[in-house]
């Protein structure tokens, strides 16, 4: 606690003993509860405390350690350790945020209350949901939680990331690696292709007789030409991308034989990475803010749920129009949402936000590419500002790719510093 804050608390406590006490209780500090201590939730909690020191900010998160997904593809490829992805909440707590280690299990939007897995009940003036994603275990026949122990998704970083890495390490040279990529929308639209690139890099340098196939439920993806050009240059003959129209959509899997099934055939893999369909973290359902798509519709100017008043949704769980589900977007939304909530609890009208996204992908350790966009509410959505944004130039010199790879890592230090540092 800072000295000025300690002094402040002291004088505040002294004031509480006076005649003013009853009036004081009536003017309790606005309470903001945030569910989920990932990129969105943690950044939002800290931004709220920075915006208005009066706010009583409570962050609910079950895990003592957060494991970040960005750059986790480099962990899979043996270029980085998982510990470099892990962060704790000491500095968050030091900002004056109340951290509760629990799951939110029930939400009553009418009573404005949240119930936690340990039985605690919290009352809020504003609730922010930032639960990230859940896997849709019912969406891909054969792919349930036990199948994921054999065919990892590695789409929530942690044990799954290490499992996929160990499988690649254990595979004999000449093996077939298959990645199944889902239809839109899903977390990190460029993630499957960065992963394919870095696994190809691993195979090229360690197991050059192996092959990698990406089976895709789509006919196109973000930064596609940049990826394809780089693949042709760096991994010719090693990496094959099969689009939807080429029979790429995986319709079922059989974990007992490590087989992925499409309408056109069966692929038996030495290592299979199944990136399955996803939805908003299940607390979105519990709160009644997820729609039939599984994601949470929001007002683009305030991030407030279109289905329940007083509840804001940010990060991967939200339907954020043209913004991708990225940690950069989650952070950008978190800070804008904090400004909105700080205005609302102070009885003022928030102004419309302006947001940025920049997503880096590593095609090789020293080869980075990016996509950027600027967003603002328009036509009931978060829409891209025309004329801005776009991808790295197709004809950029190699030095630019090297620079963008360095910026990718610098961005990771910055964004994790914003959330946890």
């Amino acid at each position: 606690m800072s000295v000025s804050r300690r002094r402040f608390l002291k004088s505040a406590a002294a004031a509480a003993t006076g005649l003013f006490a009853p009036a004081v209780i009536a003017q309790a500090a606005p309470r903001v509860v945030i569910i989920g201590g990932g990129f969105a939730g943690t950044s939002c909690a800290r931004a709220l405390r920075k915006a208005d020191q009066r706010l009583a900010v409570t962050l609910v998160e079950p895990n003592a350690t957060f494991t970040a997904c960005p750059l986790s593809n480099a962990v899979i490829a043996g270029l980085r350790e998982l510990t470099a992805q892990q962060f704790t909440y000491e500095r968050v707590v030091a900002d004056g945020i109340t951290l509760l280690r629990a799951n939110a299990t029930a939400i009553d939007a009418q009573a404005r209350s949240v119930t936690l897995s340990d039985g605690t009940r919290l009352v809020y003036d504003r609730l922010v949901l930032a639960p990230g994603i859940d896997i849709r275990w019912d969406a891909l026949p054969g792919y349930g939680e036990s199948a994921a122990e054999r065919m990892p998704h590695a789409w929530k970083a942690g044990e799954q990331t290490l499992l996929l890495r160990r499988q690649l390490e254990a595979m004999a040279d000449g093996g077939l690696v298959v990645i199944a990529a889902p239809a839109n929308p899903f977390r990190c639209p460029t993630g499957p292709y960065e992963r394919a690139s870095l696994i190809a890099h691993y195979l090229k340098t360690r197991k050059p007789r192996s092959k990698l196939i990406v089976l895709d439920a789509k006919d196109g993806f973000s930064k596609q030409r940049l990826f394809e050009n780089a693949w042709a240059e760096l991994y010719p003959g090693l990496l094959e991308w099969v689009p939807l129209s080429g029979g790429g959509k995986v319709i079922s899997v059989d974990a007992s034989t490590n087989t992925l099934v499409t309408d056109f055939g069966r692929h038996q893999a030495a290592v299979a990475n199944v990136i399955p369909p996803q939805k908003a973290g299940s607390v979105g359902d519990i709160a009644g803010v997820a729609d039939r798509s599984g994601w949470c519709p929001i007002d683009p100017a305030t991030f407030e749920s279109k289905l329940r008043a007083g509840i804001h949704v940010i990060g991967d769980a939200a339907i954020a129009g043209a913004m991708p589900k990225s940690a950069f977007a989650a952070n950008s939304q978190a800070k804008a949402c904090a400004e909105v909530v700080a205005e609302l609890v102070n009885g003022r009208m928030p102004s419309a936000p302006k947001l940025i996204n920049t997503c880096y992908s590593l095609v090789a350790p020293d080869y980075g590419i990016s996509v950027a966009g600027v967003y603002r509410p328009a036509g009931g959505q978060l829409a891209e500002v025309p004329g801005a944004g776009g991808v790295s130039p197709l004809d950029a010199p190699r030095a630019t790719r090297v620079l963008e790879a360095q910026y990718a890592e610098a961005w990771f230090r910055t964004i994790t510093g914003e959330a946890f540092g």
Partner: protein
């Protein structure tokens, strides 16, 4: 006790919160607000407003070497840029 303390905090300090201009917070996804982050990307906090405006103008016009800022700068009007620059100049 905690509840009383929180209540008193509200009493003792009327909110002085003034929201930053639209877009200012978004810059900090790359331009770290904290001085402790090691990054080749320059900090904006405490920088001369005129320097920020000039850089943004040059990025927009393609007159300054860039990897992403040429693409991002085009998403901000002159007024927005000036407001953001003035706000960062006043931050510590």
């Amino acid at each position: 006790m905690m509840r009383v303390l929180i209540a008193v905090l509200a009493f003792a300090s009327a909110s002085t919160y003034a929201a930053p201009p639209a877009g200012a917070a978004a810059c900090s996804g790359c331009h770290a607000a904290s001085a402790t982050v090691a990054s080749p990307v320059p900090r904006l906090v405490g920088r001369e407003a005129a320097d920020i405006v000039k850089a943004m103008d040059e990025f927009r016009a393609g007159k300054r070497p860039a990897t992403v800022m040429d693409r991002i700068a085009k998403g901000f009007t002159d007024d927005e840029t000036r407001a953001i620059a003035a706000w960062y100049a006043g931050q510590r």
